[in-house]
Amino acid sequence: MSIIQEFKNNISSALFSGSSGSLGSQLQLLQSRLDSYESSGIVDKIEPRSKTKLEELKRRLKQKINTLNIHIEKSKGAKKKDLEARIKELKEALEEIKLIERSQTEYEFRVSDTPDFSYEDVADKGIVFYDSTLGSLLNELKHAFQFETGKIDFIKVSGEPENLPGLLYDLGDEVETYKRQYAYDGVLKLRVVMTEEEMLNQLKSGKIKNGLGLGTLEIKKMKKITADVIVRVEDSLGSGSLYSSISRKSLDVHSSLGSIKKGNRQRSNFITGLGIDKLDKNEPYIDFVKVFIKDTPFIYVKY
């Protein structure tokens, strides 16, 4: 928990107890902690080797922004708009990295064949797995930022070795990460499930260029990265999608329990497992979490 968050919680509890003495002492205590926090400067909890990678990433991001700015001068219309969107996205990435650097949570980057972002609650550590490319690192770092800002959460499930993505994880979160990756790489290659109709239409029109490699989608415009595309991302044709089990509607800590329940119909075991189905649908998720984690601290979310 960040110091600011602790500050907020202590004030809330002091106000709730109704004792002015308690509030005063809490404020004094927290003010001194805030002073020492500020004097210590940025709390850099990035693992040392990951820190080097992050510095490289920031340098390369700035270079990419400069390069795209040069291209933009020679571009017109849709291409110019796309370049503008990419620059905006990359600038946002630089800002978001600052927040990750300042986080109380430790972050570590590891190279893996299967890019992923996971959270270990015991060590309060976010682990960013990326496929050695900077595009992939940016993609997964976006998840780290989403975690820092309460757009995604993790839940410890009995018997599971890893914390699972919580009820706030939605398709929009994935769209954001793919857009981020595209902004850096300039092209996004995805294996997608094609509907039977789409496939037949492509075959009839003779537009398939990759011979037998059907199902590959090459995206060259940011606006084409949508939830409809991402939900069909697959490793092999005809396979069922795990993405189809998450909410299409954007969810965050302030979403109502009704929205959370509606968006997670495919994960009803989580809804009933947490007892959300029996609660007031208008209550914000964060209020539910605050009460829930007092007895059973198994939801990890920042707010």
Partner: protein, 201 residues
Amino acid sequence: MLNIKKSILICLILNSFLGLSQESFIKNTYTTYSDESLPEHSLFIENSRVLLKVYSKGLFPEKNINFISKITKDTICILGEEKDVDQTKGIKLNNDKLVSKFVNTRFYIKSKNLIVHVETERPYFNKTVVDSIFGNQIIYLVDGKILKSEKDSIVLKDILDKKKFKIQKLKMLKGEKAIKSYGILGLNGIVEIKGRYRRCQ
């Protein structure tokens, strides 16, 4: 008397060897098609161990579920989920859909390369065999002839060229339908094409 003892001993050794070979007969990863009810997954079977592997996607980590099972000569019975991780921490989820699809069900061992889930009739193919045949590519059948090699992709290019080939019938089969019609070849889907090459002008 000694000869009888010897014969019994030889029989016992042979029997134990055959028994062992039956047990170690299945030591492979088996793959199947996926659909709305089941995400992409595979089964790893080794002696009496059955492991269900669901591949990672987005923030969903890879999921490995160990099943308690009993393997006989031609059947694999899934008796329950083996839980070796601390069960006291975290929220408890009831009726995990994925696990419930396998617990108290059976697989019929047709051969080393094919096992069939009895309750759903879903076939699981030896992954090594599948990968060596066609990886994760769709199979094209042009007038009954299979296109699957790199060389065949040139043929396919001609077929997709309206000037060179006239398509008379085009059909796409996926999932269960493809498997029922074409067996292992239908694992990633089948495109049936019927037509004729145009004459050169």
